[in-house]
């Protein structure tokens, strides 16, 4: 009701203006019109001249980004206006997507200016956690009380016997901005559907357990262990660790055993009978598939007697 009233008043007003009676009224109206005309022209002139005279050379990319932004200077991004945001994004692409009013369109535009698409050289890299041991498969010397961080726990004496395996306090989880990595039963586990390959997790792990591997296949085979302990020590520490026995290397030369630890040469890896066989023959089952549709890793073949022994001797 109010709206219709308003509309009718406005219509009436417009009509009134159009048919304004001559005299004082028209003079005033014209004065206002002239005034605005003057103002508008004045500013247009000044700004045009100023924009010529006071031009400052800047990185053309900044200009491009600036042009792509909404230019509201609203400060929603946490910067002092679109200009400074443009500059900041150029320096630090992690700041992408801070422009709330711009939304995804602007995000895409800036991304294309910055050439952020991953360059197509070789298969995309994805993280592989070089450990497959769940909490109940590991040996602990003592209980760790304290700061729930892998870096912190790693700095202390080895409460968890294996110095090389996953600690499970999730420094990598916290580093992942894409919720693609979780600690499951004490073991960091990548959700390959969500992972973008940003490498943040591999930088965060204090034990260097996470390697960025070129995923030539959907699922990659890997030796999920990082321990260079001798076989006996390794067995006493973990039921599913690599003992460096060399069985896999005998099947195919895609595996290399060095320092009591087998490694898969990812650049040369391709699915083969031999590799599959190596996987079957591995006594501790440390050779597994990793990837979005990887099958569950098998359990170790023999009950590792050594583990039980080590425990008794402890």
């Amino acid at each position: 009701m109010i709206v219709s009233y308003c509309v009718s008043r406005i219509a009436y007003l417009l009509f009134f203006v159009a048919s304004a009676a001559p005299g004082e009224g028209v003079g005033k109206i014209l004065l206002a019109g002239a005034m605005m005309l003057g103002l508008g022209t004045g500013f247009a002139v000044v700004l045009l001249i100023a924009s010529k005279k006071l031009k400052v050379e800047v990185d053309p990319k900044i200009e491009q980004i600036h042009a792509a932004l909404p230019n509201l200077d609203c400060g929603a991004c946490g910067f002092a206006g679109c200009g400074s945001y443009a500059k900041a994004v150029l320096d630090d692409p992690e700041l992408l997507g801070k422009c709330a009013p711009g939304g995804s369109e602007v995000l895409d535009a800036i991304a294309s200016i910055l050439n952020l698409q991953v360059s197509d050289s070789g298969p995309a890299k994805r993280p592989i956690v070089h450990c497959r041991s769940r909490r109940d498969q590991r040996t602990f010397h003592a209980e760790y009380y304290g700061i729930p961080s892998c870096t912190a726990a790693n700095a202390l004496a080895n409460a968890q016997a294996c110095k090389f395996g996953c600690l499970g306090f999730g420094d990598c989880t916290r580093a992942c901005k894409f919720d693609a990595l979780h600690v499951v039963e004490g073991l960091a586990t990548v959700d390959y559907d969500k992972c973008t390959g940003c490498t943040a997790c591999s930088k965060a792990c204090p034990r260097g357990l996470i390697e960025m591997v070129p995923f030539g296949q959907e699922n990659m085979m890997t030796v999920a262990c990082n321990s260079i302990e001798t076989g006996k020590a390794a067995r006493s520490m973990c039921k599913v660790g690599c003992i460096g026995c060399g069985v896999c290397a005998k099947q195919t030369d895609q595996f290399i055993v060095e320092d009591n630890l087998a490694r898969l040469d990812y650049t040369r890896y391709e699915p083969s009978e031999a590799a599959e066989k190596a996987m079957q023959k591995c006594p501790t089952g440390v050779i597994v598939y990793r990837g979005p549709t990887a099958p569950e890793p098998r359990q170790p073949k023999e009950k590792p007697a050594a583990v039980a022994e080590a425990k008794k001797g402890d």
Partner: protein, 207 residues
Amino acid sequence: MDKVRHFVEQSWLLIVSAFFFGLLLAGTDYALAPTIRQNRIDKLNRLAKGLLAEAEHFIEVEEKIEIESGKGKSKEEITIYKAVGEGEQCVGWSFSVGGPGFQGTIYLVVGVDAGFEKLAGYRVLSSTETPGFGDKIKYDYFREQFEGAPVGELKLVSTGKPEKIDSEIVAISGATISSEAVVAIMNDSVLQVKERMRKKGLIDNGR
């Protein structure tokens, strides 16, 4: 010449629409200005009418009264309205004065009787007092204490019966400053107005 052409190319739209908007604005203003002016007068009238019930209409007194406000720091010009009752007889006076309140300036519309002897009360024209505290100067129970009270002799007390009409004004609990401010305006400013009007002979004329 090139420059001019370039300029026109760039900004003709701005200039044209500036002109158009200017016309639109001025037209609107032209159409609405009388209503807006009338609104202000209406409001004053409405408030003053509430104070001086017998008044039929108000006449703006030509001469402006100058009073000192803010402890003599500045001078203010006040327009006085004569309330005219039945038979063009003066039934009182009304004017708007301001004074410092708890937070900002309190503007009151004050009514007095024809002889400037008794207050007819006040209405708050505008104020920025705290809602729930000083805001209560707008409430009837506080305002009614002033109706019929003698000009220039008001005293603020903290306890007593508000219903009693006398020179004692019972402060709003928890907002003495606002109460004080109103009393101060009603005492100082009204007395000053009375003084000046008597000097100018306005009051006697009104009789």
